[in-house]
């Protein structure tokens, strides 16, 4: 995945994805399962009430972010953590690398963290001779395959069990098996050794609590707990908008995130970590370093798209999105795919790179209904399309078409004339169109409805 200004080749990526029946089947099965489980999981809940409450708390954070950042830094430091503020990806990478190199770290185990993908942390550390191992099973699989994750919760859902079996056999030298239980056991055994010999653990944090300076980590596998309690050093990277005001706000989100993500009552493990090990403790890393990252958030906060920062990364919008369901995550060629991904990518990477991916929506609104914190995704996507046109990224033919539309729409006579022209030229337009809309729309009728009303 490139972070250059070159535009994402979305159409080409889409065509490739649509020609891959195995991929399409895998994505459909996965998203349908997520949606079914989520629907079951929230059926008996006062979801509207929970969403409204969560949205209010998240807006409160965004409206007072400088104060909460300051409070978090003070609380976390009082609890014994070291807090660093990084303005961008480069600075965050340098900070993390510096912490690790200063302590002679040679091997790092990582729990899943989308922000570390966003800043391309792994390649940076690997260049400096530090071994970085992903421990979330899905992340471990895509790391072995040298691919990017395709979904923010289940990184390897684009792969079939057979593909994973072959991958393990090839890269780990084990006998081929496509039984998920066997494959999971292989990963458990391999990674157990790594957990026990790693010098440091790196995580993100879905939430951080301002009044206690705590980080909150959710996993089902236990790897989040492993990497934060077994190695002597824990480095956490998170972006500023992940803060919650108080530990009293935590229960609402501890309930909401797993339910919205997978329909589960709770993830198997939820850890609230407040500082490193203290005198009298037998649990916790010796040192806890927290890198609080901006990477464009302050800028977004100032503008009309600020509500995207309410996002808690549950992936519900991805799972209900008909476009994501059809093409999978890789087609977006971005850290974050799906509806929230389109918005974040446009804001973080700029219109020049991101404008093709604004096409990846029918504006159906399923994401708006699903979002547990009421991010107004359709409104944000519409506004981004507007901005894209304003900034000159509209396709030429389309722009011409819209200008023609604009020229006739205020005049019924011109409009009717346009209808007649369209009828005359339809057969030619159809021939040129291939799969384009011309071939799928019928020919304009000889006597338009307006003529029948005269």
């Amino acid at each position: 995945m490139s972070s250059s200004r070159e535009a994402i080749t979305f159409r080409a990526n889409v065509q490739k994805a649509l020609r891959d029946p195995m991929l399409r089947e895998a994505i459909k099965r996965a998203t349908d399962t997520f949606v079914t489980k989520r629907t079951e999981g929230i059926a008996s809940l006062p979801m509207e009430e929970w969403r409204e409450k969560a949205s209010t708390i998240r807006m409160k954070v965004l409206d007072n972010l400088p104060q909460y950042v300051e409070q978090f830094c003070a609380s976390a430091e009082r609890a014994g953590a070291k807090v660093y503020q990084a303005v961008d990806a480069e600075s965050a990478r340098r900070t993390v690398a510096g912490i690790l190199e200063d302590r002679g770290v040679k091997k790092v185990v990582k729990a899943k963290s989308m922000v570390t993908e966003e800043i391309h942390l792994n390649p940076c550390l690997q260049e400096r001779g530090i071994d970085v191992l992903e421990t979330d099973l899905g992340e471990y699989i895509v790391q072995l395959a040298a691919e990017a994750p395709s979904h923010i919760l289940a990184p390897a859902i684009h792969k079939t069990r057979e593909q994973i079996g072959k991958l393990f056999a090839e890269k780990l030298g084990v006998d081929y098996s496509d039984d998920p239980t066997v494959l999971t056991r292989v990963a458990r055994n391999v990674l157990r050794t790594e957990f026990l010999t790693a010098d440091a653990g790196i995580t993100g944090a879905p939430f951080a609590v301002a009044d206690t300076g705590s980080l909150v980590i959710f996993t089902n596998e236990g790897n989040g707990r492993m990497v934060t309690t077994v190695p002597r050093l824990h480095v956490a990277v998170l972006t500023i908008e992940k803060l919650l005001p108080s530990v009293t706000d935590l229960p609402s989100f501890v309930r909401l995130l797993p339910r919205s993500a997978t329909g589960q009552m709770l993830s198997s493990y939820v850890s609230v970590i407040t500082g490193p090990r203290k005198p009298g403790d037998f649990t916790g890393a010796d040192e806890l370093h927290i890198v609080l990252l901006d990477n464009g958030r302050w800028e977004i906060l100032k503008g009309e798209y600020r509500e995207i920062l309410k996002c808690i990364r549950c992936s519900a919008c991805l799972n209900v999105c008909p476009v994501y369901r059809a093409i999978g995550g890789h087609a977006y060629d971005s850290t974050y795919p799906g509806p929230m991904g389109i918005v974040l990518t446009a804001l973080l990477e700029g219109m020049e790179r991101a404008h093709p991916v604004l096409d990846a929506t029918t504006l159906c609104g399923a994401c708006v209904d699903a979002c547990p914190v009421k991010v107004p995704l359709v409104r944000l996507l519409c506004r981004l399309r507007e901005a894209s046109v304003e900034e000159g990224f509209a396709p030429l033919l389309e722009k011409r078409g819209m200008s023609a539309y604009g020229a006739v729409v205020s005049s019924p006579v011109m409009f009717a004339f346009g209808q007649t022209l369209a009828r005359i030229f339809w057969p030619f337009a159809q021939k040129l169109s291939g799969y384009g809309p011309m071939s799928r729309i019928p020919r304009p009728v000889a006597r338009a409805f307006r003529r029948r009303m005269l």
Partner: protein, 240 residues
């Protein structure tokens, strides 16, 4: 009672029989239908692509043509939603037009909304035939919250069998400008919808929006499927 009828550009250009069916339906309930001759388009096509300037032009024209106080009835969820939900936003910087947009939005109805809430058409013993299934369009369902009305009407048809479509409110892939910008995904989604329709063994699929119906019709015919694709106005008017 009198209403103003907005046919929509799709009905006007491609599906005039839907306009005719809607008129027959409304007149059956004693409604006097006025057709402002200068109507063109509501502005949804440019709006969905981010062409605010063109959308505003269309909207301004609509507001001036549909002057007055009578209800405006529209055989399309996306057009009705454009007027009710998006016109105010288009004119947020123009107090005079904003006021006009708000007032116009208040008296705008999607067809099934009007049939059920104003005319009680679902209790009129309308007649129908065959096995009918229903696709729930996105803006109709999610922006206008029109979910029950079409079902009430279809279920009331005496002589017809209504069969529920699994994932009825899953997007068909039309998306207005989406069909032009991402035709491959549009076709993929339409084919998925067509397959679900096929599995119901319905002989007719209906809906409230011609954009969707056009897209679905194409996917069905590509596979040689003969399922009839009809706007709900036509289905309801057939038994009159």
């Amino acid at each position: 009672m009198r209403i103003q009828f907005f046919s929509t550009c799709l009905v006007d250009t491609f599906f005039p029989e839907t306009g005719e069916a809607a008129l027959r339906l409304l007149r059956r309930f004693g409604v006097e239908v006025a057709y402002p001759k200068e109507q063109t388009c509501c502005g949804k096509p440019p709006h969905s692509g981010g062409y605010t300037h063109e959308a505003r032009k269309a909207a301004e024209h609509f507001l001036s043509v549909f002057d007055g106080a009578d209800p405006i009835v529209i055989p399309s969820g996306s057009c009705a939603s454009m007027i009710k939900n998006h016109y105010p936003e288009l004119f947020k910087d123009n107090p005079r037009l904003l006021e006009k947009a708000r007032k116009t939005a208040e008296r705008t109805y999607e067809l099934t909304q009007f049939l059920v809430h104003v005319l009680n058409a679902h209790e009129a013993g309308l007649k129908g035939t065959g096995r009918i299934t229903y696709h729930a369009s996105c803006q109709l369902t999610r922006e206008l919250s029109v979910k029950e009305e079409p079902l009430l009407l279809l279920n009331s048809l005496q002589g017809a069998e209504f069969v529920s479509l699994p994932h009825a409110d899953r997007c068909c892939g039309f998306g207005g400008i989406f069909m032009a910008r991402q035709p491959e995904i549009s076709v993929a989604l339409a084919e998925e919808k067509a397959a679900t329709i096929r599995n119901t063994n319905a002989d007719t699929v209906t809906g409230c929006d011609h954009g969707c119906l056009m897209n679905i019709h194409d996917a069905l015919r590509r596979r040689g499927d003969n399922v009839a694709v009809k706007h709900i106005a036509q289905v309801l008017a057939e038994g009159l």
